[in-house]
């Protein structure tokens, strides 16, 4: 591994510590250290302390400490205990007390990743991170052997962002595995990783990756700054980080992409974005994110360009439906009946006959019912999951129509809205649609298409004001970028896209050349 796994040397940590206490050093007296440690851990049953004496005079006390469950027992047994024990006899014969530290480091410990630490705080963190600490009596420095290893979920298929054609692996809860999944896809030394520890209590390992030379320095700096500025007790999920580093809080629109797909992360890295990985969650954050990116599935790039383009257009249409369908229905039936074709009007009028609610309440009841079902479906224990679908079919469906409470057309509208909200590849962009749908319904019930238009103008204005790490949210539509259109609403075949980009680069070059000539001439 070419990156530094251990987070101890990061300057970040010092900030945390300095809040409470000065950097406290490790005492030379091992008994004192052990006492302090036991005090700190309050006789935690998981802490394992193994002592042995060595040296010519058997006066060298060596203690190894680790947390049971956080370490890989095999590693500890084979590479720490065994090497200490095997070499013990050598030490017993030759090593004087003053050489033991270097001898141990140079000749004894067979574990590959061994570091020396000298402050108390790092020592505690090392133990809590699943490393094994080896203390030697008389030294105020200790060894820190990397022995992390605990039960982890293996790499499985993604559950929330599936594709038909494409890689089937997904990130896991382990930061280390996640980094590996990315790194094995980009064999390039310019792929950089930086570690940050966030959370005063949880001290969660957070890392961000970027490709030097593709990602701009400003972006990397901005990401680093924002991550470093986070002041919080704990980070459990990517969402915690997202809330801290997003540009604008008071908006329903997500400004960072989350993904559990390594290929999506890699694709974004290659496009110059930064990927933020958090230990303990399979979701990584990708910054910056623009509105249109949420409609891109990694599969777009694995499929033929024609079908990928059509599907992408379909997704925008689907987003439109999930946002507007109920409010359009409300507007048409309450205000703009004359916009309907005659046979359709007759049909709808016949359906509405006998329905006891105005269209708005009808829609509201159904939408809320659907939201209830959806929430129940997510929260419900798997075993009773079937009940949701059975009850759901009753309340949003035939029974509601037969009872005369809801018109059949409304069921269709709610149905298409519901299914549309799931057809968007990114779950997080479905959320603004979900929230704004209700507001749009209110505006439709108040002032029909006029009200909807006003609200849509407001929404677009708002979206235009958003930035994600300095990038305008509606880019490349606003500000308009012609060449970027090759991969926005549609995806041009790669060859064609490259041609366009090459042409653009040539024009830019030519223009620059002309400018230069002009300058020299003028």
């Amino acid at each position: 591994m070419s990156f530094n796994w251990n987070p101890f040397h990061k300057k970040k940590q010092e900030n945390h510590v300095s809040d409470k206490q000065k950097v406290s050093h490790i005492s030379k007296d091992i008994s004192q250290n052990l006492k302090k440690l036991l005090e700190e851990f309050e006789d935690s049953s998981e802490i394992v302390i193994r002592e042995l004496n060595t040296g010519i005079n058997k006066d060298i006390r060596i203690v190894s400490i680790y947390m049971d469950g956080l370490v890989d027992q095999t590693l500890v047994n084979e590479f720490i205990m065994e090497s200490l024990m095997l070499n013990k006899s050598e030490f017993d014969k030759y090593t004087p007390k003053e050489d033991v530290f270097n001898d141990l480091r140079m000749n004894a410990l067979t574990l590959s990743n061994i570091k020396v630490i000298n402050d108390w705080d790092s020592l505690v963190l090392a133990i809590l991170s699943g490393n094994t600490v080896i203390m030697i009596d008389g030294w105020n420095e200790v060894f820190n052997g990397e022995t992390q290893g605990w039960e982890e979920r293996s790499i499985q298929e993604p559950t929330s962002q599936t594709v038909i054609r494409g890689p089937k692996d997904s990130f896991t809860e382990s930061l280390r595995v996640n980094v590996t999944l990315i790194r094995k896809r980009i064999k390039n030394a310019n792929l950089r990783l930086e570690n940050i520890e966030i959370g005063k209590v949880s001290r969660t390992n957070v890392a961000f990756m970027y490709i030097q030379g593709i990602a701009t320095d400003e972006l990397v700096k901005e990401v680093r700054n924002r991550l470093e500025k986070i002041e919080t007790d704990s980070i459990i999920e990517s969402g915690n980080i997202e809330e801290f580093i997003q540009d604008q809080t008071s908006t329903p629109f997500p400004q960072l992409i989350n993904s559990e797909r390594p290929d999506a992360a890699v694709g974004n890295l290659l496009e110059g974005r930064v990927v933020i990985l958090i230990d303990g969650t399979p979701f990584v954050l990708i910054a910056p994110a623009t509105f249109f990116q949420f409609f891109q599935s990694p599969e777009d790039y694995y499929q033929r360009a024609d079908i990928a383009s059509l599907l992408r257009l379909l997704r925008f249409f689907v987003f439109f439906i999930s946002l507007f369908a109920p409010s359009i229905y409300i507007s048409l039936t309450t205000f703009h009946q004359e916009m309907l074709p005659f046979p359709l009007l007759i049909n709808l009028a016949a359906q509405r006959e006998g329905v006891p609610f105005p269209a708005f309440f009808e829609a509201l009841i159904m939408e809320i019912t659907f939201e209830i079902l959806r929430e129940a479906g997510v929260r419900m224990p798997r075993a009773v999951g079937q009940a949701v679908s059975i009850v759901g079919a009753i309340v949003i469906g035939e029974a509601a129509v037969q009872a005369g409470i809801i018109s059949p057309a409304m069921v269709i509208v709610v149905g298409i809205t519901a299914i549309s909200s799931f057809a968007v590849p990114s779950f997080s962009i479905g959320i603004p649609a979900r929230i704004l749908r209700f507001i749009l319904m209110i505006s439709a019930a108040t002032a029909g298409f006029y009200g909807m238009t006003l609200l849509v103008i407001l929404i677009i204005g708002h979206m235009n004001s958003l930035r994600s790490f300095g990038v305008p949210y509606l880019e490349p539509l606003s500000p308009f970028n012609l060449t970027a259109q090759a991969d926005t609403f549609i995806r041009l075949p790669k060859k064609l896209e490259q041609k366009i980009i090459m042409k653009r680069d040539n024009t830019v070059k030519k223009a620059n050349q002309l400018n230069k000539d002009g300058d020299t001439n003028g």
């Binding site: 039936t333 309450t334 009946q337 004359e338 005659f342 009007l345 007759i346 049909n347 709808l348 009028a349 016949a350 359906q351 509405r352 006959e353 006998g354 329905v355 269209a359 129509v401 059949p408």
Partner: protein, 374 residues
């Protein structure tokens, strides 16, 4: 949406008492039209007729609300029907409401109830089409397209012609076949031969907003040839042995009108170009013979020419320029038009009209020989 009733037809008749007009509106009963689950299936009629009287149209329409439980919704009015009596006494003023009110569209077709009142026409339930108003409009459209004797005009066109100089409006007629009382109940449409049916029939010639004369069949077609409104029609031709034994289907016809001037008097050149195919042959004629076909073409030309001449004669008798010759003159020679505009009423009946028809038989159908000829 459940607060209003949709109007599909507006009938206007002359009233003797309680006001000037009797307005009849046809309201849809959506559940009956749609059928399916919402329907009470066949227990109620698909439409209901309400009428009321008033001095102005709107006052009569408002008076209808005494009988209807819901607000009346006009944008889907398919047709405006005038009773013959009213049409004869003049309908020039009536369009004011239809143009002024934003709920009315410009697309409803103008129909005239021939020898009847609009109210009676609207009362007839019809098979196939569930809404009588749609049946009326569709029938006159379809028959106009396949027969070429009627012309359902939109309100907008009608008013435009009525208010312009040098052209007079035309409107299609509808009449009742059978007893009108029999047509008012749903039993009428439960039979294979309904007791009473609506028929699209006749073309009404107007002059200054007054119905002047009904014309029908070939005479009506004569007018439509000139104003270029024939989609397709059947012309019957004769062969040596039999009269009217060959049917020619005109599939494409174009008419161009041109005004010429001689010594300050205008005249009109009509040039009709027809294309079509032989549809039916009931006699021994070798239609694979080009010469024979040319004879047929000559017959078609003569036939059409006669029809047009007859139509022009009738129009001249009524002094109603339904062809828009005045506008043709205006377009071709505006200076002349300005001079003769005032006296156009006197000029039109005397105007010289030259007719030229070119007919082409393009196809003879899927067989060449008739049964008789072997």
């Amino acid at each position: 949406m459940d607060d209003f009733s949709i109007v599909t037809a507006l009938g206007i008749d002359k009233a003797e008492e309680e006001g000037r007009y009797e307005v009849t509106i046809e309201l849809v009963n959506p559940a009956e039209v749609v059928g399916g689950e919402q329907s009470t299936s066949g227990r109620a009629s698909t439409t209901t007729i309400y009428s009321a009287k008033g001095d102005t149209l709107i006052s009569a329409i408002r008076r209808v609300s005494q009988q209807t439980p819901r607000e009346i919704f006009f944008p889907y009015t398919q047709t405006v029907i005038f009773g013959e009596e009213l049409a004869r006494s003049g309908i020039e003023d009536i369009f004011d409401l239809l143009e002024r009110n934003q709920e009315f569209r410009s697309t409803p077709r103008v129909l005239i109830a021939k020898d009847n009142s609009a109210k009676n026409i609207l009362s007839i339930l019809s098979p196939l089409e569930k809404i009588p108003a749609q049946k009326l409009v569709k029938t006159s459209k379809v028959s106009g397209q396949s027969l070429g004797e009627t012309l359902p005009v939109k309100i907008m066109e009608f008013v435009k012609k009525m208010t312009s100089d040098g052209i007079e409006p035309l409107a299609s007629g509808v009449s009742i076949l059978g007893q009108s009382e029999d047509g008012e109940s749903t039993t009428n449409i439960e039979q294979t031969t309904p007791n009473s049916l609506i028929k699209s029939e006749g073309l009404a010639i107007f002059k200054k907003g007054k119905l002047m004369r009904w014309i029908d069949r070939e005479e009506a077609r004569g007018i439509l040839w000139v104003i270029n409104k024939i989609d397709s029609t059947i012309v019957n031709l004769s062969c040596e042995q039999k009269t009217n034994a060959i049917s020619f289907n005109v599939t494409d016809t174009r008419t161009s009108l041109r005004a010429t001037e001689a010594n300050g008097t205008p005249s009109i050149d009509i040039h009709v170009k027809q294309e079509g195919e032989i549809e039916e042959v009931l006699c021994k004629m070798d239609i694979s013979n080009r010469d024979k076909l040319e004879q047929l073409e000559k017959q078609i030309e003569d036939n059409t020419k006669q029809e047009i001449e007859r139509a022009i004669q009738i129009a001249k008798e009524e002094n109603s320029d339904v062809f828009g010759f005045g506008q043709v003159i205006n377009r071709g020679n505006p200076k002349l038009w300005r001079e003769i505009k005032k006296d156009y009423n006197d000029i039109f009946p005397e105007m010289e009209v030259k007719i030229k028809v070119d007919a082409y038989v393009m196809k003879t159908g899927m067989k060449t020989k008739s049964y008789n000829q072997e």
